[in-house]
């Protein structure tokens, strides 16, 4: 059974429909990358999956239809989203940001998890009592990812993590995501404009244009297609 199945997904803002007919599948343990230009509907897809906007069609997670579920029950089901532009709580310190990430949990291992992510992101540990708003862009992105992981998700949605980051930082970030996926089997659905880096770690890739999925396949298959290579990889 697929972890996440999205079919005939339509969504938008008010009367404006952004997504026309999106379908995609994420298998357990996979890193799936969705590529698309500005305004193609990447962020809208993410927000539709997490229940942040009204949507129609089919969104099935672990066999349960979640297309009408509220954002908090979707988080409880095991989907955590790292929103575009990081979306940390700027007035809260790093530790409180992480505690907020564990909001749906009531077990005793929250502090242990926090220490674990501090090991993965040592710079967050150094700044644990600093307000999130005072962190650099890269640190905030790491905080946003760590916060999402605090809910112990089965699927991590990452909305353009490279946005506004230096290429070196982006590489570092993607390496962490790859390692998480390899070591813990965490499934990842990541949307990006920055195709080159993202395609390296993708098990499978979807291309989205004006609200529709126009191509899909492995990274190798897609980069053999001349038109796709020109449009998304720029060579």
């Amino acid at each position: 059974m697929s972890l996440l199945t999205v079919d005939h997904l339509r969504a938008g803002y008010g009367p404006v429909n952004v997504l026309d007919d999106v379908h995609l599948v994420v298998e357990p343990g996979e890193i799936v990358v969705m590529l698309g230009a500005n305004g193609a509907g990447k962020t809208t897809t993410m927000r539709a999956i997490s229940g942040m906007i009204p949507r129609h069609g089919e969104v099935v997670f672990e066999g349960h239809d979640i297309v009408r579920s509220s954002p908090d029950s979707i988080v409880r089901a095991g989907i955590a989203q790292v929103p575009q532009g990081r979306g940390t709580f700027p007035e809260l310190d790093v530790q409180d940001n992480l505690r907020a990430g564990a909001y749906i949990r009531s077990d005793k291992e929250i502090d242990a998890d926090m220490d674990r992510w501090f090991e993965v992101f040592p710079r967050l540990k150094e700044r644990r009592t600093q307000r999130a708003g005072s962190l650099s862009g890269g640190e905030q992105q790491m905080l946003a990812i760590a916060r999402a992981l605090m809910s112990r998700p089965k699927l991590l949605l990452c909305d353009e993590p490279s946005l506004g980051l230096a290429p070196l930082i982006t590489q570092e970030l993607f390496a962490v995501i790859e390692r998480l996926n390899r070591d813990t089997g965490l499934a990842v659905l990541l949307v990006e404009q920055n195709a080159n880096l993202a395609m390296h770690m993708a098990h499978r890739v979807y291309l989205i244009e004006t609200g529709r999925i126009v191509a899909s396949g492995s990274a190798a298959e897609l980069s053999e297609d001349d038109a796709i290579r020109k449009a998304y990889l720029g060579y």
């Binding site: 988080v75 940390t88 709580f89 700027p90 505690r99 005072s134």
Partner: protein
């Protein structure tokens, strides 16, 4: 010296009431970014309810609990029924709606309890004075350096500090407090970590109104009566305290509330041409000067954020 201490404690107890009103304003402002113009009238409604409970023979402890519960319900209902649907369309309209709520509640108080100062044996009150939270007989005072400080004043000051401490614990040591701070900081991300932001906002408004209710009851107790105009100036002082302390700082609201209470009492007492009529102006001159130097208030955070 005696007179100074007397005035200090009078000022602090009035200031405690301003602080409680200001706390409510700050909680709502932090949660939804709105200035709740009806904060004082919500408190007044609760104060009338406590009067009514007294008429029905309930002891003040129980009456206060009923008043707090009614205050909470009024605040929560206002958020759900009025603020939430309207703020989606226009945040500015919410301000106008809270003015409407202010009018409505005052009208409602008048329709139920009339425009008399209560208790009033002329309209059938059984109580001789407003139910007081603290012992308030003529002999209920303690001598401090020769000054007679009434239990009433000490009680209101203590109550203010107690509520401030409880709020501090709620905000910083509980999961719900974390959610309140998170929703204030970034509502969108709060949803993404699984917080029910609507519930958080509803409870925030309820909590703000409940704290205001305690302030209203305490103030009616200090005054010995309740009337339709009771909370007008208290609300103005309360919003002044919130502004002075910094609209996002509960601790600042309390300190500023107490300070304003002391300033107005001292100014009215010591500077003869100011008196009761001008004391409002003195408080505002002080606030104006502070805000010119520090626009975000004494303890408010100027927004600094790296991008």
């Amino acid at each position: 010296m005696e007179l100074f201490l007397q005035r200090l404690f009078d000022g602090l107890s009035a200031g405690g009431v301003y602080a409680l009103l200001a706390l409510g304003l700050v909680i709502i402002y932090r949660g939804t970014g709105h200035l709740n113009f009806a904060q004082g009238e919500m408190a007044l409604f609760a104060a009338y309810v406590v009067y009514q409970m007294g008429e029905w023979g309930l002891p003040i402890g129980l009456a206060l609990i009923v008043g707090i519960a009614v205050g909470f319900a009024v605040g929560a209902a206002a958020e759900v029924v009025l603020v939430r649907p309207i703020s989606k369309k226009s945040p500015f309209a919410v301000f106008v709606v809270t003015i409407g709520l202010f009018q409505f509640l005052n009208w409602l108080d008048g329709a139920i309890w009339g425009d008399q100062v209560l208790p009033n044996s002329g309209v059938g009150s059984k109580q001789s004075q407003y139910p007081s939270l603290f012992p308030d007989a003529p002999e209920d005072f303690v001598k401090i350096f020769g000054a007679a400080i009434r239990y009433q004043s000490l009680g209101v000051i203590g109550l203010t500090l107690l509520i401030t401490a409880l709020l501090f614990l709620l905000f910083n040591k509980t999961k719900f407090g974390l959610a309140m701070r998170a929703v204030a900081s970034n509502p969108e991300s709060s949803k993404l970590v699984g917080m029910r932001t609507n519930t958080v906002l509803m409870v925030s408004w309820g909590l703000a109104a409940a704290i205001g209710a305690i302030g209203g009851v305490a103030f009616a107790g200090i005054n010995n009566n309740v009337s339709l105009g009771l909370m007008f100036t208290v609300f103005i002082y309360g919003s002044a305290a919130a502004t002075l302390g910094g609209f996002d700082s509960p601790g600042g609201a309390v300190i500023a509330g107490l300070a304003i209470g002391v300033i107005e009492t001292m100014a009215a007492g010591y500077i003869s041409f100011i008196g009761q009529e001008m004391k409002l102006a003195v408080a505002f001159v002080v606030i104006l000067v502070v805000l010119m130097v520090k626009p975000s208030g004494l303890f408010g955070t100027a927004k600094v954020e790296r991008v």
